[in-house]
């Protein structure tokens, strides 16, 4: 965006950040993610007036489609999944820039056609050569697509235009593969033109962690080892692996969730205040705290993995992981993982961070709970505070986004009795009932070139350094504990906290 534009003024806050002339190419456009998230997000952005005039959307897939079929598909996806109401004039604006290129990833002709399409769009729609390539493809196809982009000159930036690559997790399955992947990608795209999507970081609640901590005065003074007892970060799903057996088996919950989402949440919760809110300063603090994460000495007692067994989930009878289609009966893949880590710095030394994730748990929920120590001295007698738990601040990431503060309060009556109460802030109540979807924010940021909310290479590699020893230990020792579907995980996980004199929150 040119800074010499006289119509732009930082004080003029009504004007939204509109992306400059640009287009988005989606590989794997027929996939679920594309239909349910990407296409609706593009429409929602257009509807909110945040896309530049002439914005173009190019789909690339194997299916035999004409431009019209593609437009129809997008139309249906938008009607079904978009957050904002469907408006004909917005659709008319979008449809002019929609193209479809048919082909497979190893098909040189198709990539030549893609290049032709992009050149045609530059002329017809004025996209100015600025294109983002969204790789919504299986990990094994990454290298092929990236190489094809290079081979056909699609990654070349010329005359001030940009070409960006957007990639989805998994970013490898261990440190070595992550480094290889980074090498492949960075050989073609410069590091600052590669955007790794961790859709959690696009969520309002996650961005609010920073606002909560650094814009207020009442939380930060107690956000350290003098007051905090421990931190629990949970991401629970109620669904099983569904049709993703091929992807999931051998990967497991820890690689699928802890490595990216939970460690990112940990970084945001535990990091020091960045010197500014720009991408470099944020990445510096996140890298610092991830680098200070220390694994427990005895991985056998301080990590737990599990597999869901058959059971009842919310009134429905469901099968166990080993009975799922396409899963080896002897599979050791974890569908539940809980680990304890500490952070070696002055702020957090000695404070455990418990991370857990799993499938087929009680309900779908993601939250960060900062649990505080008990008051060092209580003037009330033991019976008065019997029901009082530890104070806590809970950041509810999803669903029902918001923040809960738990503290003790006197029960009305003649005797002194103190019980836990909670004070709630709900987004849905205080702000718009429909916050922007994470993908809206992230796609817009890609087009604007704003990399605040995207994990960088170093963060990805540091996360693997944290997880790799655990995975290696699990490979060699024991096998996953079984837990009935619809419960909050294996007994072993409860025992792990009990040994520390703590217990898991029921989220």
């Amino acid at each position: 965006m040119s800074s010499s534009n006289p119509l732009r003024d930082p004080a003029d806050r009504r004007l939204p950040r509109i992306a400059g002339p640009s287009g988005l190419v989606i590989f794997g456009v027929t996939g679920d993610l594309s239909r349910k998230k990407l296409m609706p997000a593009v429409y929602d952005l257009a509807n909110r007036g945040l896309l530049p005039p002439g914005f173009s959307l190019v789909g690339f897939a194997r299916r035999e489609w004409q431009h019209e079929d593609f437009a129809q598909e997008v139309h249906d996806a938008v009607k079904e999944h978009a957050r904002t109401p469907f408006r004909e004039e917005v659709w008319q604006q979008l449809i002019q820039g929609m193209r479809f290129v048919q082909g497979t990833f190893d098909d040189d002709d198709a990539f030549e056609r893609l290049r032709g399409t992009i050149e045609e769009l530059d002329k017809a729609q004025g996209t100015g050569g600025n294109f983002a390539f969204y790789l919504s493809v299986p990990p094994r196809s990454f290298p092929v697509v990236i190489q094809q982009l290079k081979k056909h000159g699609l990654a070349d930036q010329s005359g001030g235009s940009w070409r960006r690559a957007v990639i989805e997790k998994p970013f490898g399955h261990d440190l070595k593969s992550a480094e290889e992947l980074n090498k492949v990608v960075h050989e073609v795209f410069a590091p600052d033109q590669v955007f790794r999507i961790d859709h959690y970081l696009g969520k309002e609640t996650v961005q609010n962690i920073l606002a909560l901590r650094f814009a207020n005065t009442m939380f930060e003074p107690i956000w350290n080892r003098s007051f905090v007892d421990h931190v629990q970060i949970t991401m629970a799903e109620d669904i099983g692996i569904g049709g993703r057996a091929g992807y999931y088996d051998g990967i497991g919950a820890a690689r699928d969730v802890i490595q990216n989402h939970l460690l990112q949440l940990l970084a945001l919760t535990a990091m020091e205040e960045p010197s500014s809110f720009d991408a470099d300063a944020l990445a510096a603090e996140k890298t610092k705290v991830l680098g200070a994460v220390r694994l427990p000495k005895d991985l056998g007692t301080d990590t737990v993995r599990g597999q869901y067994a058959a059971g009842w989930q919310g009134g429905e009878k469901v099968i166990g992981y080993l009975e799922e289609d396409g899963i080896d009966r002897k599979s050791k893949t974890d569908t539940y993982a809980a680990i304890k880590v500490e952070i070696d710095n002055r702020r957090w030394a000695g404070i455990p961070f418990y991370l857990r994730t799993g499938k087929r748990l009680g309900r779908r929920v993601t939250e960060i709970a900062v649990v505080f120590q008990r008051a060092p001295h209580s003037p009330f007698d033991h019976t008065a505070t019997e029901e009082l738990g530890k104070n806590a601040i809970v950041i509810r990431v999803q669903p029902d986004e918001g923040v809960t503060v738990r503290f003790g309060s006197k029960v009305p009556g003649t005797s002194m009795e103190i019980r836990d109460v909670s004070m709630d802030f709900a987004y849905g109540e205080s702000f718009t009932e429909s916050s922007p979807e994470a993908y809206e924010r992230l796609i817009l940021d890609v087009l604007l070139g704003d990399s605040n909310l995207f994990p960088r290479t170093e963060e990805v590699e540091l996360s693997w350094k944290i997880l790799d020893p655990i995975e290696q230990y699990w490979d060699k020792n024991g096998k996953p504990a079984q837990y009935p579907a619809g419960t909050w995980g294996p007994v072993e996980a409860d025992e792990m906290l009990e040994r520390d004199g703590r217990s898991w929150r029921r989220p």
């Binding site: 006289p6 005039p53 002439g54 604006q93 205080s430 718009t432």
Partner: protein
Amino acid sequence: MKIDLTDTTASKVNKALVQGRRAIGTPAVGMVLTLVIVTDEENAYDALKAANDASHEHPSRTLVVIKRVSRSPRDRTQSRLDAEVRVGADAGTGETVVLRLYGDVAHHAQSVVLPLLLPDAPVVVWWPVNAPLDPAKDPLGALAQRRVTDTYASEQPVRELGARADAYTPGDTDLSWTRITPWRSMLAAALDQVTCDVKAVEVEGEEFNPSCELLAMWLADRLDVPVKRSLSSGPGLTAVRMNTDRGPIVLDRADGSLATLSIEGQPNRAVALKRRDTAELIAEELRRLDPDDTYASALRFGVERLSTSNGSHGKDAELPDPERNADTEGPAAKGEGATAVPTPLEAAAKAPGKEAAAQAPVKKAAAK
């Protein structure tokens, strides 16, 4: 849930609000602001409907102040307050109190409103019609951080713009300004696409639509070039034409919904620029509650400094000759008694010597 109170007081209304909240089972409140709508019976329904729609984005307590007209001397001596308290599904996502003021109390509306404001939350006053001449000095306006008027709804919109400029106090804003945000962002986006010097601008739209004037004044203020206001049959704004050293940039919207952006050397593009309804405008207005300096600056530029299509400067403005443009700006500026006109630094730096010299009178006028 709805509670009707006849001949009541603010404290009884407060009790009814608490009672209503308890009855629907949500004693906690997450409302972020109080919106006071000051209106007459005729416009109350539409305004309240818009506010309720907007409350989906900004849960608020909405107080509708309806001043009833007294038709006889006896009516005037009696004063009465009737209230209708709505909570739950009847009131969007917040709470609504419709206050009807009869007789004397109509002149002391602030005494009813003050006890009903949410504690420690911002207050916005909105006059859908008949805004006071000086909103900040109005007793109700004085309670608010944000005062929303709508010159579009007035008898002589363009003259009223002048009055708004004279009485401007930080926190004032006008829905005619809100209406043009999509235009402004699209024009800014257009200038993002080409690096060029704008020489002259024409804003075309229906008569008696102050949004056209505001857009023209904003462009004149930001670009520091002559801006011509010309008339069309609408609906609303119909076109903005910018003459630049790289050829014309035109944003044309004939039908009030889909516009065409044409830039010299680039293909024409369709852009959605639908006219928005009042609920959307109010929702945008409530999004930010700090003073809108850009509005102030555009408003203070002064309507009389725009040239109109009937005016003698119209033809000059079309010419992309900087010297001639400088000439047209000189005389126009003399009639200007208004306040600060910030000159964009970039423009000043780029301006040739003569043009810069011609701007001097403007700055002197500002100093007065």
